[in-house]
C-alpha cells in the first residue's frame, strides 16, 4: 500500500492554496456580535475579532460551518454567552479543532453568562416545555448593566491572556466603563416613560430588557420557547389582548415578522423589531448604538 506519495501530493497542493491569517496580539472568536463588539471596545488595536454569527441569525440555530472551524482553530479567546446558547454547535468546534486554549475551564474560554445574574432558571427540565436552557434565559445582552458586568470580566481576561498589554486593556476598560455608565443613566432617563407598560414578545428573548426598563410582558407569540407561533395560539393571544390590551409587540431582528405583524394589524398596536444585538439595525453599529436604537424604538412605539 503506497500511501506516502499521494499524501505528499495532497498536502503540497493544499498548502499552496493557503493564506496566512493576519497577525494581532490576540485572536478573538466571538460567538455573538455583542461580545465581538465588546471585545473590540476593550481590546482596541491589540485584538483581532472574528464574529462567528450575525444579528440576522437565530443564535439557537447556528451550524458548525467549516469557516467557523478554521477560525476557532487559531483563536486565543472565545467570547460567548454560555448558558447553553451555543450548545448546538460550539462543542463540535471545541472538539474538532483541538485548540487547547479555548477549551472549557481555560482562560481562553469566556462565557459572559457566568458574570451576570441569570433570569428564568427553569424549575423543571423537560423538552415538552420547548427550548429551555437549564442555566436560565441566555439572552443576557439586552440589559446594558449585564454588558458592564461582562466588560469587567472580559477586561480582566484580556489582561490575563496578554499580560504585556494589561495596562492598555485596563485603561480602555476604565474609559469604556465611564462612558457606559453615563450612557446607561441617560438611557434609563429617556426610557422612564416605558416603566410598567404591558408588552407582547415574539420569543422569550427579552426578560433582561424587561427587568431593566420595567416592561411588563403579558404574552408571548411562541407558545413555548423555540416553537413557531401556531394560528390557534395566536388567536388565544389575540383574545387575551382584547380583554387586556398591550402597548406593543416586540421581536428580535432575526425573527420572522409575520406573526407579530399579524397580531399588530388586528390589535392596532405597533410591532417593534429591536436590533437585539450589534448589527441588528442600521443604527446598532456598536454597543452604544444598540441601546440608543433599542430605547428609541421602544419610545416611538410606546407613544
Amino acid at each position: 500500500m503506497n500511501l506516502i506519495k499521494p499524501m505528499k501530493w495532497l498536502a503540497g497542493g493544499l498548502l499552496a492554496l493557503l493564506s496566512v491569517p493576519a497577525f494581532a496580539a490576540l485572536n478573538i472568536f466571538a460567538c455573538e456580535p455583542e461580545w465581538g463588539a465588546l471585545a473590540q471596545e476593550l481590546g482596541g488595536d491589540k485584538v483581532s475579532v472574528y464574529n462567528a454569527t450575525n444579528a440576522m441569525q437565530d443564535p439557537h440555530r447556528v451550524e458548525a460551518k467549516p469557516s467557523l472551524m478554521a477560525r476557532a482553530r487559531t483563536a486565543d479567546l472565545l467570547a460567548c454567552t454560555g448558558a447553553e446558547l451555543e450548545v448546538g454547535w460550539l462543542p463540535i468546534l471545541l472538539r474538532q479543532t483541538g485548540n487547547p486554549k479555548i477549551q472549557p475551564g481555560q482562560p481562553g474560554h469566556f462565557e459572559a453568562a457566568q458574570y451576570v445574574h441569570m433570569l428564568e432558571i427553569p424549575s423543571r427540565l423537560d423538552r415538552a416545555d420547548g427550548d429551555v436552557h437549564p442555566g436560565g434565559n441566555p439572552h443576557i445582552q439586552t440589559d446594558p448593566r449585564n454588558i458592564a458586568l461582562a466588560a469587567d470580566a472580559l477586561a480582566n481576561r484580556l489582561a490575563e491572556l496578554d499580560a504585556a498589554n494589561a495596562d492598555y486593556y485596563r485603561q480602555r476598560h476604565g474609559q469604556f466603563a465611564a462612558r457606559w455608565k453615563t450612557a446607561v443613566a441617560n438611557w434609563e432617563k429617556q426610557a422612564a416613560p416605558l416603566k410598567g407598560i404591558p408588552v407582547v414578545v415574539q420569543h422569550k428573548g427579552f426578560p433582561y430588557l424587561e427587568n431593566w426598563l420595567g416592561l411588563k410582558q403579558v404574552a408571548a407569540l411562541e407558545p413555548k420557547p423555540g416553537v413557531e407561533p401556531s394560528s390557534a395560539h395566536l388567536s388565544g393571544v389575540l383574545a387575551q389582548l382584547q380583554r387586556q390590551p398591550a402597548k406593543m409587540v416586540i421581536r428580535a431582528a432575526y425573527n420572522d415578522a409575520r406573526a407579530s405583524e399579524w397580531l399588530a394589524e388586528r390589535t392596532k398596536i405597533p410591532a417593534v423589531a429591536l436590533p437585539f444585538t450589534v448589527g441588528g439595525s442600521d443604527r446598532a453599529k456598536d454597543l452604544f448604538g444598540l441601546f440608543d436604537d433599542t430605547v428609541q424604538r421602544l419610545l416611538a412605539a410606546g407613544r
Binding site: 450548545v87 487547547p100 458586568l149
Partner: protein, 466 residues
C-alpha cells in the same frame, strides 16, 4: 429570606442535638438547658424578625437604589428579583450524556426485497436494499458520551436492530485540545472518508443511504482503528486526515494478521461565500487488501454458490456540499446541495464456488473498475417543511472474471434510482418523512418504493456536524 431562616433553624437544631446527646442524665441540668434553648430561640426569632424587616425596607427602596448603585449592587438587586440556582451536588452529576434515537418505517415495495441486488456489483453482506415490507422498526441507537479527563473524551453508540440483535456502532476515544490542530481518535468509528459516511443515519436527508454507499461500503464504512486529523491554521478550512484500521468491513475483510487491513486518507476544504453561502469539498481514498472476502451469489447455471476474493481494493471519493441560508439563518428557508462520486478498482484472484456446489471450484484473476455516485438537493421551503430530490447513478464499468466469466460473467448494467422526499419536523428533535423512490438497481424489474418514517432524538442533544 427563607434560606436565612433555614440556616438559623438548622443551627438551632444543631445546638439542640449536641448537648442533649452528650449529657442526658441530669434532670436539673436538662431543665437548665431547656431554658437556655428557649432563650436562644426567642433571641433568634427576634433577630429574624428584625432581619426580615430590614430586608423589606431594602426591597422597597430597591428601585431608587438601582439608579445610584454601583455595579456590584446592581447585581445584588437583580438577585432579589429571581430565584437562586443551586448546583446539583450528587454523584450522578458526573454521569455521561445519554441520548437515544428512535426510528421506524412503513415501507410499500413493489418488488420482493429478499431478491434485492445492485446488479453488476459484488454483494457485500452489508445493509443494502430498502429493508422489509410493511411496518418495521428502524435501528434504535443508544449513545453515551462524556469527557473522560482533561485530555480525552469517549463515546459509545449501541445499535439495536429490529431483529433484536445488538451491535457496537461506535466506541471511540478522542483527544481533547491536543493543540496544533491535531485530533486523534481510536476505537471503532465511522471513517472520515466522503461526506455522508461520518454522518449518523438519523441525520440523513433520505430514508436510505445512496446506492453508491450501499454498493461500495454496504452502508457506511466503519472500522476498528485509529484516526489522525490535522486542521490547518488558516482562515480557509483545510483539514487533512489519515486512518489505519483492522479492515473488518467490506470492502476489506476481517483477517487474522498483525498490521492493518485498511488505510484511508482524506482532505477537506471549505469556507463561506458571503454570509448566505457555505461549502465543503473533499477528496478521499481508501485502500484495503481483503483476504478471503466471501460472498454468495446465483451463478450462470442458476445455482447458489459461495465465492471468495483475495487482492487489493482501491476506492477514491470526491464529495462536495453547498448550503444556502438567507443571511446565514436557516430557520425559515434554506437549501442544501450535495454530491459524491465513487470510483473503485479491484485486482486479485477470485475463487468461484468454494463449496463445489455448481460447476466446481476454480480460481482465476478478477479485475474490476466501477464507479457511481449521487446528487441531491434538499430545500426547506417554510419553517419545519422540506422537500428533497436525489438521483443515484452507478456505472457497472468493466469487470473481468477471466476464466470464471463463463459461470459469473454478466451483461453490463448501470443501476440507477430516483428518490423524492418530504419531511416535517415539529422540532429539532423529531422528524416525519415521506419518500417515494423508483429503484432500477436490477435489470429485470423496477422497484417502486414508498416509505413513511419517523425519527426521534431523546435526551442529551449532541451538536450536529456540518
Amino acid at each position: 429570606m427563607s434560606f436565612k431562616r433555614k440556616v438559623l433553624a438548622a443551627s438551632i437544631a444543631l445546638a439542640l442535638a449536641a448537648p442533649l446527646g452528650a449529657q442526658a442524665a441530669d434532670n436539673a441540668e436538662l431543665a437548665q438547658i431547656r431554658e437556655q434553648i428557649k432563650q436562644m430561640k426567642e433571641g433568634y426569632e427576634a433577630r429574624i424578625q428584625a432581619l426580615e424587616k430590614r430586608l423589606q425596607q431594602a426591597e422597597s427602596t430597591a428601585g431608587s437604589a438601582l439608579d445610584k448603585a454601583g455595579k456590584a449592587e446592581e447585581k445584588a438587586v437583580q438577585a432579589a428579583a429571581a430565584p437562586v440556582a443551586s448546583p446539583s451536588a450528587s454523584a450522578s452529576a458526573f454521569n455521561p450524556e445519554i441520548s437515544l434515537i428512535l426510528s421506524g418505517t412503513y415501507a410499500n415495495l413493489s418488488q420482493d426485497p429478499a431478491k434485492y441486488r445492485i446488479a453488476g456489483f459484488l454483494p457485500n453482506g452489508g445493509e443494502i436494499g430498502p429493508g422489509q415490507r410493511g411496518f418495521g422498526l428502524g435501528e434504535s441507537e443508544l449513545a453515551v458520551a462524556a469527557n473522560i479527563d482533561p485530555y480525552l473524551r469517549g463515546q459509545f453508540t449501541l445499535a439495536v436492530t429490529p431483529e433484536d440483535t445488538v451491535a457496537v456502532e461506535e466506541a471511540f476515544v478522542q483527544s481533547l485540545g491536543l493543540g496544533n490542530g491535531l485530533t486523534v481518535k481510536g476505537g471503532r468509528f465511522l471513517s472520515g472518508v466522503g461526506y455522508l459516511n461520518e454522518q449518523h443515519a438519523h441525520t440523513w436527508d433520505f430514508v436510505d443511504a445512496p446506492l453508491a454507499y450501499q454498493a461500495f461500503f454496504g452502508g457506511q464504512f466503519k472500522d476498528d482503528g485509529i484516526q489522525m486529523k490535522w486542521l490547518a491554521p488558516t482562515d480557509t478550512f483545510v483539514e487533512l486526515g489519515a486512518e489505519v484500521g483492522r479492515g473488518r468491513n467490506f470492502p476489506a475483510s476481517n483477517r487474522a494478521k498483525n498490521g492493518f487491513g485498511s488505510a484511508a486518507l482524506f482532505a477537506h476544504l471549505g469556507g463561506d461565500v458571503g454570509v448566505s453561502h457555505s461549502w465543503r469539498a473533499g477528496l478521499s481514498m481508501l485502500r484495503t487488501s481483503p483476504r478471503n472476502r466471501t460472498y454468495s451469489i446465483t451463478d450462470n447455471l442458476n445455482v447458489a454458490v459461495d465465492n471468495s476474493f483475495r487482492g487489493d481494493s482501491r476506492l477514491e471519493i470526491a464529495d462536495f456540499v453547498w448550503k444556502w441560508a438567507p443571511n446565514g439563518n436557516p430557520v425559515f428557508t434554506n437549501f442544501k446541495l450535495q454530491g459524491e462520486y465513487f470510483r473503485r478498482h479491484e485486482d486479485g484472484n477470485l475463487t468461484y464456488d468454494t463449496g463445489a456446489a455448481s460447476a466446481g471450484t476454480g480460481t482465476d484473476r478478477y479485475t474490476s473498475a466501477q464507479s457511481g455516485g449521487y446528487l441531491q438537493g434538499v430545500y426547506q421551503f417554510m419553517p419545519r417543511w422540506r422537500a428533497g430530490l436525489r438521483r443515484d447513478q452507478m456505472d457497472g464499468g468493466s469487470v473481468d472474471y477471466a476464466a470464471n466469466s463463463a459461470n459469473l460473467g454478466q451483461a453490463a448494467y448501470n443501476p440507477s434510482k430516483n428518490s423524492l422526499m418530504f419531511d416535517y419536523s415539529p422540532s429539532e428533535f423529531s422528524r416525519f418523512r415521506l419518500q417515494f423512490a423508483q429503484d432500477k438497481s436490477r435489470p429485470e424489474a423496477t422497484d417502486n418504493q414508498m416509505f413513511l418514517q419517523y425519527q426521534m432524538s431523546l435526551g442529551a442533544h449532541g451538536a450536529h456536524k456540518y
